[in-house]
């Protein structure tokens, strides 16, 4: 029997890693910068402090992993949601490039912002 090689198991692995990272890190971030600071529950940190934190090599690498894996997670999950929810599995040639393409573009943006612009 010919063995079919596919990227699918690898993508599921990245999906899981992204799911874990998104669950662990993103709620705290959105709570602080999305609600607590703008609503005045807590005072926002100074620019100098954030710049120092973001420029730390561990933060750069950590945030890059969070961004990339969480985007792959979202793309993979949204792809199957569109398949099942809207019953458009036959449109996979359109859905796949849009979902994964957006994740790749986002990851490239994350790499540029974290390693070049900062």
């Amino acid at each position: 029997m010919q063995k079919r090689t596919t990227l699918e198991p690898f993508v599921w692995l990245l999906f899981s890693a992204g799911g874990v990272l998104a669950a662990l890190v993103l709620p705290a971030f959105v709570f602080l910068f999305g609600l607590a600071f703008p609503l005045g529950w807590l005072s926002a940190p100074s620019h100098e402090h954030l710049l120092a934190v973001l420029r730390h090599p561990v933060t750069r690498v950590g945030l890059f992993l969070v961004c990339t894996l969480a985007l792959i997670h979202a793309a993979h999950r949204l792809r199957y949601t569109l398949y099942d929810g809207l019953q458009i599995k036959h449109l996979y040639e359109v859905v796949n490039p849009i979902c994964y393409g957006a994740a790749v573009v986002g990851s490239a943006a994350a790499a540029y912002l974290l390693f070049v612009a900062l």
Binding site: S16, G18, G19, V20, A22, A23, L24, V25, L26, P27, A28, F29, V30, F31, L32, F33, G34, L35, F37, P38, L39, L42, A44, P45, H47, H49, L50, L51, V53, L54, T59, L63, V66, C67, A70, L71, H73, A74, A75, R77, L78, Y80, T81, D84, G85, L86, Q87, A102, G106, A109, A110, L113, L114, A117, L118
Partner: protein, 138 residues
């Protein structure tokens, strides 16, 4: 010995598939919870975009950072982030509750009970949250 050559035809029997409404996920609470869990992916993506907007703002100096804080106080963005936080929490809870089914851990020849695995995941979530808050607040 080589296997005999196989020939394939284009024909396959027509499948019987009963048509399912595009709104199948509204039919029961379980389906709705499933589709809400899947839709959390959109909000995970937005949270990443928002994080990258912050990184970009900080890289542009204190003026850029102030603009980001102004943007975060915009009522539309505030509402979006409120909804995002709800979906992120929903994602985290469903993810950690599923973890015992995805991870079978054995210790001392016995299977570790699922409750322990879920509990360790929730502990990790709490620790990660404290670390993130501590780093950001300094």
């Amino acid at each position: 010995m080589n296997p005999p050559p196989t020939s394939y035809t284009e024909f396959h029997p027509r499948w019987y598939r009963s048509p399912v409404s595009a709104y199948w996920w509204l039919r029961s609470g379980t389906y709705l919870a499933f589709i809400l869990r899947e839709i959390s992916s959109v909000f995970v993506a937005w949270a990443v975009v928002y994080l990258l907007l912050l990184v970009r703002a900080v890289s542009r100096g204190s003026g850029g950072y102030r603009d980001f804080l102004d943007l975060s106080a915009n009522p539309g963005i505030l509402f979006l982030n409120l909804v995002t936080l709800f979906f992120l929490a929903f994602h985290a809870v469903t993810w950690f509750n599923l973890a015992p089914q995805a991870m079978v851990v054995h210790a001392g020849g016995k299977r570790v009970p699922g409750v322990w695995i879920a509990a360790s995941n929730y502990t990790m979530w709490a620790v990660a949250t404290v670390v993130v808050v501590w780093i950001i607040l300094g």
